[in-house]
Symmetry: C2
Subunit: 219 residues, 2 copies
């Protein structure tokens, strides 16, 4: 047994892997998947190109890991928004989810576009399907509760939930592609300027109406 991977080496490897992921996340947020070339990720992580392949067997594998990491955060944020204020109506909680989702997307438009719509490796496409189901389930739970309590009219909660996921994603793609791809934000940090003004309120109105919520006062 001439060689065994010691804890120190393993820790260093793990740290390096983390550095690679961090570099990829930063590039993804700044330039989307288009900026996530293996060479660029390696350079940002401070290692050689070939060394990335010590941690990921292919670019597709790295792309999928980056996707899962970022979307995992989004699912958590949206789930938290759904859990808050259990005393409120189901419609209001659905709106809270939409506002959370859309607000976060519009604050990081390049990243949101990368996750939602950027043409990319089929492996990432497959992940998109998985995570859309996760978002759907968050909505479906809220809607089913609203229907059960009589607040919302009878409906197929799963179908309405799916439709809302698709509606939210598609409605955002327009505002995301417009200003962000034109100016191609150079990532100097000041990303608090409004992107797609009026998009979120319009989407909220759409959502409330689609749910059949009793008062569509947002009209």
């Amino acid at each position: 047994m001439p060689y065994r991977r010691t804890p120190a080496v393993q820790a260093r490897l793990d740290a390096q892997r983390g550095t690679v992921v961090e570099a990829g996340l930063a590039l993804l947020a700044e330039h989307g998947y288009a900026g996530c070339t293996m060479a660029a990720v390696a350079a940002r992580a401070g290692i050689a190109t070939g060394s990335v392949y010590r941690h990921f067997p292919s670019k597709a594998a790295l792309s999928v890991e980056l996707f899962r990491t970022v979307v995992g955060r989004e699912v958590a944020a949206v789930s938290a928004a759904a859990a808050l204020g259990a005393h409120r109506t189901s419609a209001d909680r659905v709106v809270a989810v939409i506002e959370t989702f859309a607000g976060r997307a519009l604050k990081a438009p390049r990243l949101a576009y990368a996750l939602l719509a950027e043409p990319v490796d089929p492996a990432v496409d497959a992940e998109r399907l998985v995570f859309r189901r996760a978002f759907r389930d968050v909505f479906a739970g809220l809607i089913a509760a609203g229907v059960a309590s009589g607040e919302l009219p009878p409906q197929d909660a799963r179908l309405t939930a799916s439709a809302l996921v698709g509606a939210g994603a598609e409605a955002l793609i327009g505002p995301l592609t417009g200003p962000s791809t034109a100016t191609e934000d150079d990532g100097d940090g000041d990303s608090s300027e409004p992107v797609g003004p009026g998009t979120v309120p319009a989407l909220v109105t759409f959502t409330l109406r689609a749910l059949g919520a009793p008062d569509a006062r947002h009209a």
Copy 2:
């Protein structure tokens, strides 16, 4: 000038190209992009695998051509549905578009899944974005007319249209993936059996509510 392509040769080449496209379309309808390997397309077209590359430089190019061909039909069908009955309300015309779109998708589930959601080459992904805009524009025209006439409440027609495109697509993906991937329709022609019963009426109700149409009598 030892060789010049005579009209007869050119005609034969064009015919062969058409045969390749037909073969690809048939495979796409039966097994989606997963079944559209270059070898399978060539075999069904009755030519050698390498001969496909006489007409298409890559698998991605063939995939894109198949996508454009099929989705072009869908856009035409949906546009026709939108144009019919100009005397009807805008909401009814939007519903006609949705019913046309969804009805056609549910009658050819494997094909619809391939066009809407199947993980596939990024080049096809890019085409998806283009054609979703086309569908959006059909909706946007109808909605803008409804708003102008006062039939529908004031709203951003483009945003509502985008949301409806996303809602329709996402709502269909569930019913499409469920039964069709399980049984993997062997394409014996009898595809008139109902897939996802109740999906279309539910989607119509969703659409009418989301538009803010005066009477949601479908509820």
